[in-house]
Amino acid sequence: MSELVEETVRVEPVSTSVGTLHVPVDFTDVDLDTFRAPDVTSERGGQSFVAAFLENRLGIVGLGIVVAVTAFCFLGPLVYHSDQIHANILLTNRAPGRGHPLGTDANGFDILGRLMVGGQSALEISFAVALVATSFGALWGAVSGFTGGVLDAVMMRVVDIVIAVPAIFLLIYLATVFRPTVPLLIIVLSLLSWLGPARLVRGETLSLRTREFVEAVRVAGGRSSRIVGRHIVPNTLGTISVNATFQVADAIIILATLSFLGFGLPPPAVSWGGMLSQGTTYLLDGYWWEVYPAGLIVMATVVAFNFLGDALRDSFDARLRER
């Protein structure tokens, strides 16, 4: 990334003088945006990024599965109608067949339709958690790394403390104290997921803050908030977006685990983990359709997000190598 930085800096006559610091320039009328950090989606970078991504077959597979699962969950119910609210005791534990391609569960709910509804909350919560946790974590890490000193030490100890207690223990505890709802789960999961991105972005910030373009903004009188917001954070977007993808995968697993243990959204809400937990009761009876479809869709979705994250990381790396 540094070579492109130098390239951008060289193109701008003002910033050249700033870089070497021997020409006194009146900066009052200089638009600070001429010091803009190289944009991660700049045309050249953008093209090679997409090209690198398209070469990664697993990434394409991952993206395909993510799109398919999202469409299945959100568009599926428009095409495939099933009643997921009223239990039907005349229809319990039916094997897959006419009218119910994946059978019915112990309350007579259609499994195929239930997978769709369960996926909606899983995807909504996981996407929201990835967004909130990654943005907050990135900002925390950037401020901490950029400021340094005592504030950095304090901010990083806060991360150490919250990371020290494994999330599942805190989640279960909080689920017993509060009644889980979608917004609450998003908040709590985010509170426990921003620590990874905070550490990652702090690491990147430590190396970014000594770069020339940051020096240039500082010399030009740019305030710290501007440096962090317009230069440091945009430059960590690669790391951030890769991390956000993995965050979605992690959130799906932890949500499925929470609801499997019975600490997820209470009924009548539907969740993949809840379906698995209920289906497990009938494992001995051989009602495979109550266990395997839910387990497989969780696994497929998480694998897909992991493929996607790996491919994004490789593509960002490839783009960096090309420069």
Partner: protein, 315 residues
């Protein structure tokens, strides 16, 4: 090194104190009050006041925290009113069971993952590497209970090779006396950790293989086996030692889920049961322990890293 050790120790103490503050705050999140949660909705105001007085809950928050801390320092983790038993005695009874489960699983995971990772690195991008990477990714992407359920469905229900339930003895000796029942929980926990460790081992070994000293060792005619064991393996183990210390939260999380799935008599299952019964003191006591274990793990990982790799120098 001494300076680094002291500084790192100081940091760990601060983080442990922070964990106790966090847990103390969690205790105060309980809706209503701890007294209400324990005495139940029908308790009268007088009874609640008496409970608060007896447990020092009517004092200022800071004083309460200091008492909480002093109890912890004296090894008092709290008292379960539901089980009518101190959390300490629960821990003393069940920790050995957890150590058996986690200890065997971690040892097996390392025994499998280390050679596997090196083999993958040596035969990079060949069939073995692809199969192992794919398997690790699958294992890594499934909730651990799902793996446990698959094993139960395949090995306990379809074919009665192993029992579906963990040993149901209360003591560690009893758990060890029933090795067949231990197999499925141990295998589940082992496989999850193999997936984690082999990925790191592979990338560490790939890095080591690219080093100059490996080329020198090869070109001076050392047999491949000696190069692998003496140079590649030993140098690749350093990051894995760190990973072992840092993996404590992941191992405990998986442990909790595995204990639930197999009904294993350990602290994870106790934590789950406490959560179901709103037995807050047990939940909080175990949470403190888990937090301390995590901090100790990462402390040991950092120190071990400095000792094992003499090139790493801390000022």
């Amino acid at each position: 090194m001494i300076g680094y050790t002291l500084r790192r120790l100081g940091q760990a103490v601060i983080v442990v104190l922070g964990v106790t503050v966090l847990v103390f705050l969690l205790e105060h999140l309980i809706p209503g009050s701890l007294a209400r949660a324990i005495l139940g909705p029908r308790a009268s105001g007088v009874e609640i006041a008496a409970f608060n007085r007896a447990n020092g809950l009517d004092r200022p928050v800071v004083a309460q925290y200091l008492t909480f801390l002093s109890h912890l320092l004296h090894g008092n983790l709290g008292y379960s009113y539901r089980l009518n038993q101190s959390v300490d005695s629960l821990v003393v009874h069940q920790l050995p069971n957890d150590l058996i489960l986690v200890g065997i699983a971690l040892a097996l995971a390392l025994l499998i993952a280390i050679p596997l990772g090196v083999a993958q690195a040596v035969r990079r991008n060949r069939a073995l590497d692809h199969v192992a990477t794919g398997a690790a990714l699958l294992l890594y992407s499934m909730p651990s209970y799902w793996l446990g359920l698959l094993l139960i469905a395949g090995l306990a229900i379809s074919s009665h090779v192993f029992p579906a339930e963990a040993p149901q003895a209360a003591s560690a000796a009893g758990v060890l006396a029933d090795p067949r029942a231990l197999v499925l929980p141990v295998v589940t926990l082992t496989l999850v950790n193999v997936a984690l460790f082999s990925r790191y081992m592979r990338s560490a070994a790939v890095d080591t293989l690219a080093q100059e000293y490996v080329r020198v060792a090869r070109s001076k005619g050392l047999p491949a086996r000696v190069v692998l064991t003496r140079h590649v393996l030993r140098n690749s183990l350093v990051p894995v030692v760190t990973l072992l210390g840092l993996s404590i939260p992941a191992v405990l999380t998986t442990g909790l889920v595995v204990e639930y799935v197999f009904n294993f008599p350990g602290l994870g299952l106790t934590y789950f049961n406490a959560a179901v019964n709103a037995d807050y003191p047990v939940e909080l006591g175990i949470t403190v322990l888990v937090g301390i274990a995590t901090v100790l793990g990462s402390l040991l990982a950092d120190l071990a890293y400095a000792v094992l790799d003499p090139r790493v120098r801390y000022v």
